[in-house]
Each structure stands twice: as C-alpha cells, then as structure tokens.
C-alpha cells in the first residue's frame, strides 16, 4: 500500500512513461542504425513534424475542455486556397499570409460560435465544418493549385537558423506560452475545470462560452499559421492542404496522455507524444522502406497508449 500511495503522489506518470519509451526507441534505433541519431539528419527531417506540432497545441487545450476540433485539416485547405488566390491577384506574400491567418480565425470563429452560442456538440460542429471548409476551398479554387511564391518565402519552412528549422523556434515559443497559460493563469484553470465539470464552472460565474469561442478561434488561427508553413514547405497552395492532419494531431495529443474526455493532460505530454510518433514513423520507414507501415505502427502506438492510460486511470481511482 505504501508503494501505491507513493505512486499517486508522483504527478508525472504519463510523461515518465512516454519519456522512457522515447529514449528506448532512440537507443534501439541508434543500435540498429547508428546513422539514425545523426543530429543534423534529425533536425532536417523534423521539418515533417512542425505543422502537426503547432496544430497539436490548441488541440490539446480543446481536448482538455472535453471538446474536439476535426476541422483543422480542412481549415488548412481553405486557408491555402485563400493564400493562393490572394497571391495570384496581388503578388504580395505578406498580404497573402495576413489573409490566410484571417480566414483561419474566421473559420475557427464559426466553430466556436456554433459550439458556444448554439450549444451544439463540438464533434458535430467540426464534423460539419470539416466537410464545409474543404468544400469551400475546392469550390473557390476549382481544384487549381497555386505555386511559385518565390525563393524567399520557401525559406520560412525550409530555412535553418543555427542548424534548426525556423518553424521549430515558433513551436518552442508557442508551446512554452501554452504551457504557461495552462499552469499559471486563471484561463488555464478554466480550461481544466470545464473539462472536469462544465456546469459547475458555469455556475461559478465563468463565461464558459467565451473561453470556448476563444479556444476554437485560436485553433483556426493556428490552422492559418500552419498553412503558411505548409505552403512554404511545398511551394504549393491547393485545396488538399492538410488532408488528414486532424487525425494525426488528435492521435499525438491522445498518445501524449491528454484524456479524450477532458480535464486531464498537459502540453509536455503532447510534446512527448508528438516526438514519439515522429521518431517511430521515421524509424519504421527507415528500417523497412515501406511507407504504409508507418500508419500501422502509429495505430498500434495509439491503441497501446490508450490501454496504458486506462490501466493507470483505473489504478488512480482505487
């Protein structure tokens, strides 16, 4: 019994497990293939990660409130088309970025408004906008793709500062911001509280609707920001941008230990979840050179982590 009491007081169980798994993976990969741990290579390939990582930040907050945002990938498609159309008519990258962000906020705002004011379940609302945003992008662009935004713009995603990809700095800053917001501000406490018991938070006088509106709008804003990086990385803006991203992002958040029912989890876990998935994928595709295998292994990872957390949850209730 002493042992279990000790366990209960240790608050970083999820993070510890993820950390151990990550280190185990890296050690194994390093033994099997020493080239895998090459720092430069790791940093270069991390460019495949940052877009998911950025989207995972607001997604963590939303899932903490017991909500979900299925529309982020589609919002990226819509933002990409807005970017492309703006660029092709004005030729200004800066203006296109601004439009891209605004469209993202607008899309997220629509989600937030429907969820908080109309009181519709986030799953339904964002499922609807998941289809609508993509459709809007495809309809407006007629499937056309916009390209050749110039060498300078492609540096946004492809460029390196001190050997580290530029989006990594952005992610670092924003992740730190989100973590501080969650742990140090009243807003962060509301996020957890809404996930635990929304009615109670409402009765205690917190404007739950406004918190949710802001969260979904910020998710939209992040979709816009991510789109800029994505468009820069592939030098192409098309309505299919971000297809399937929502599922990868949710996977990372859940593997990272955030409860899909809300109220439990943190940014650190999400970061570890992201890294674990990214490294696992890389290792699998490097080891076997079969692209499809990546999806299978990530699926197994998700199931494994859910079982793991369920086991731990049962234990905590004891």
């Amino acid at each position: 019994m002493n042992i279990s009491d000790g366990k209960r007081r240790f608050p970083w169980w999820h993070e510890a497990v993820l950390g151990v798994l990550l280190i185990a993976l890296l050690i194994t990969a390093g033994i099997v293939n020493p080239g895998f741990l090459n720092l430069r290579g790791q940093l270069l390939l991390s460019r495949h990660l940052w877009e998911f990582a950025l989207l995972a930040l607001p997604m963590t907050l939303i899932i903490l409130t017991g909500g979900i945002d299925l529309s982020v990938g589609s919002a990226m498609g819509m933002c990409a088309v807005a970017f492309g159309m703006c660029y092709s008519s004005t030729g200004s990258v800066a203006l296109s970025c601004l439009v891209c962000l605004l469209v993202g906020v607008a899309g997220g705002g629509v989600n937030g408004w429907l969820i908080s004011r109309m009181n519709v379940h986030p799953l339904i609302v964002t499922l609807a906008t998941y289809a609508a945003f993509r459709g809007l992008g495809e309809g407006l662009s007629q499937g056309e793709s916009y390209s050749q935004f110039g060498e300078d713009f492609s540096e946004v995603a492809r460029g390196m500062w001190g050997g580290v990809p530029i989006p990594a700095y952005l992610f670092g800053l924003l992740a730190l911001g989100c973590a501080l917001f969650l742990s140090r501000t009243p807003g962060g406490r509301y996020v957890y509280a809404i996930g635990h018991n929304e009615q109670a938070v409402r009765f205690s006088g917190v404007n739950v609707g406004r918190v949710k509106l802001l969260l979904y709008a910020s998710s939209g804003l992040m979709a816009g920001l991510t789109t800029i990086i994505y468009v820069s990385r592939f030098d192409t803006a098309k309505a299919d941008a971000g297809t399937g991203f929502e599922l990868d992002v949710i996977t990372a958040v859940v593997v990272g230990g955030t409860s899909i029912y809300g109220g439990r989890g943190n940014i650190g876990g999400t970061v570890l979840g992201l890294l674990l998935i990214h490294e696992t994928r890389q290792f699998v595709s490097r080891q076997w050179q079969v692209d499809e295998l990546k999806s299978i292994v990530v699926g197994l990872l998700l199931i494994g982590s859910l079982l793991l957390y369920r086991g731990m949850q049962v234990r905590n209730r004891e």
Binding site: V20, G35, F234, T236, Q287, D291, G311
Partner: protein, 349 residues
C-alpha cells in the same frame, strides 16, 4: 507481500507493465531483423543505393516499371534498389520521401514527379547534399535534376500513332476523314504530339477534319466522339490521345455499332484497352515499353553514380537495350511499343 502479488494481482499495474513490455518487444523485434538498406550509408558495403520513386505505388503502370528496374538491379549486382512511393499519388509524400532518403545519404534518387513544383525543393536539397537526382516518366522543374529518362519523344509517339492508324486502315493508299480527340487545349504533351501528327497526316491520304478538346473528363470525351461520328459520315478513324479520350472514343464507336467501320487508336495502357482490342474496335494501342523504362532508369542511375555518365554525353550503354541516345540532358528510351491483338495478352499493366 510477494512481488508476484504486487505486480501480478493488480490488474491495473499489470496493464501498464504489459504495455511497456509490448512496446519494448515491438522495437526489440525490429532490432533483430536484418537492417534496411540504409546501412550502406554507414560505409560497410560498397553497394550503391538507388531509389526509384513512382508517381503512385501499386498501379499496374508503375509496377511494370519497377519490374524492369529490379531486372536492372539484379543484372548490375552492385545496386541496392529501393522502390517506394505514395500509394495515393500525393506529391507531398513524394517530397517527404526524397527528404528522408537525402538524410539517409542514398546515392541516386530517380523521381517521377507528380507535381514538379511540390517536389522541387526536396530535389534541390538532395542535389545540394551531393545526391544524384534523375527524373523519369515525367519531367521536373528546371535545375532540380541532372538527367531526364524520357520514355518516348513526341516525334516517336505522334508518328507512331499515325503509322498505326494507316496500317490498321489498310495501307498508305487508304482515303477518308480522321479526327483527333485530345485532352485540354493547354495540355503540353498532347499539343506536342498533335504538332507531329499534323504534318505526318498530310503525307498520307487521310484528311484531319477536326480536333476536339474534352479535357480529362470521360463523359465529355464520349460525347465529343459521338458528335464527330454523327457529323462526319466519311469518318474512318479517331485518335484518342489521352488516357481518358481513348477509351471514351472506343466506347462511343462500340455503342453506336460502328466497331470495325471506324477504327480508334491512341495512347493507353494495355489492360484498359484489352476489351476493345478483342472486339475489334481498336487494332493498335500505342505506348512505350514500361519495363524497359524502369530498366533504363536504373542503368542510367548507376552510370551516373559511377561517373560513367556525365553531362554532355551523347549516348549511354544500356545493357540489353544496347546503346541509347542522349539529346541534351534527355536520355531517350525512344521506341514506342504497339499493342495489337497478337501481343496485348502478354502484357499485364
């Protein structure tokens, strides 16, 4: 309390440990298996690693290319061939695969770009990292590759289609009207072929009456073919020069009961046209030998990596294909392959 009781009886902690164990096993297994081709970058073996990236993995066309590529790799002996690509044809996945291979330090990457702009950045990075980059099957953005393995020149394709039509209709003295059903009016490949076909047709007694542009739309292609069949009573042949307009035109001729009266020829893969070849609507299907395309690509990649192939060369020794010409930086496979009722069943793609 024994350890067994502590860890075994409590299902919850058991869960956690089981899962941890399962993960370790998963990774442990991978450690036990033979390591991938990436070990070559470690310098333990002297094998060349050549990556062949198709537009889409798992469709018959590219699988047949891969067959030829494997043949070349076996023949060369010093080549580790990696054939992998996106199963959904997503060019962004192509780009990420190129980036991954770049980091692994492979020797040559041969790309069939599905969207040249999307993969251009990754191809440039690969070149900057000292990796040789080729394109095959489809051209990339300028400056992203050293050679393009060009499956067939416009000249060979255009003339091949006209020759096939003349032969199928009964020889050089045959007279009558023909039409071309293309893709979009802006399709670069199709327009290049039309530019070759026009003068080639002028040398025959066939009369090109119109060119239709239904786009990449099957029902438009069918409707356009039906229109020309009604409009030109002396119509002898239809060229369907895209993968959509060829089956569309054949379908129209078949539906209107004109099989055998109006011949259709064009560019497509054999499996798609087998039905029409068997019922006589189509006598010749023009394409290139996709197996040879894969074969030549891998040979060119190996030559490039070994320094046997340099910019400015005008020919390359290509194994069982003999010597193949190089025009500028295009390595020409050159010959077209005509599928007829006699040989179409030998090809499965």
């Amino acid at each position: 309390m024994s350890i067994m009781e502590q860890y075994g009886m409590r299902s919850n902690r058991g869960w956690s440990l089981t899962c941890l164990l399962a993960f370790s096993c998963l990774w442990g297994c991978s450690g036990g298996t033979e390591s991938g081709p990436s070990t070559t970058s470690g310098g333990t073996e002297e094998k060349l690693t050549i990556c062949l990236l198709p537009k889409i993995k798992g469709i018959a066309y590219f699988s047949s290319c891969a067959e030829g590529a494997r043949e070349a790799a076996d023949e060369l002996g010093n080549v580790e061939l990696i054939y992998d690509g996106p199963t959904d044809g997503d060019p962004k996945k192509q780009a990420e695969m190129i980036e991954q291979w770049t980091v692994e330090g492979v020797d040559v990457i041969c790309v069939a770009p599905n969207a040249p702009d999307v993969v251009a950045g990754a191809m440039r990075d690969a070149q900057d990292a000292g990796i040789k980059v080729l394109t095959w099957d489809a051209e990339g953005v300028e400056g992203t590759r050293s050679f393009f393995v060009n499956q067939a020149t416009s000249q060979a394709i255009g003339e091949g289609m006209v020759q096939a039509m003349v032969k199928d209709l009964g020889g050089p003295d045959v007279e009558g009207d023909v039409v071309i059903i293309s893709s979009d009016a802006t399709s670069a490949n199709q327009n290049a072929w039309i530019d070759v076909m026009k003068p080639a047709l002028e040398k025959t007694k066939l009369n090109l009456v119109t060119i239709k542009y239904p786009g990449e739309n099957a029902s438009n292609a069918l409707a356009d073919a039906q229109d020309v069949i009604k409009k030109y009573p002396n119509l002898k042949g239809i060229f369907g020069i895209s993968s959509v307009s060829f089956p569309g035109a054949a379908e129209a001729v078949e539906q209107m009961g004109k099989s055998g009266e109006i011949l259709v020829t064009g560019l497509s893969t054999p499996n798609e046209m087998k039905r029409f070849v068997r019922n006589g609507t189509v006598k010749s299907v023009v394409l290139w030998n996709t197996i040879d395309l894969g074969y030549l690509t891998v040979l060119a990649a190996e030559s490039l990596a070994q320094g046997k192939l340099k910019p400015g060369d005008t020919a390359i020794q290509a194994g069982r294909l003999g010597e193949k010409p190089i025009a500028g930086d295009n390595i020409l496979l050159g010959d077209i392959l005509v599928f007829t009722a006699d040989n179409i069943d030998q090809y499965d793609f």
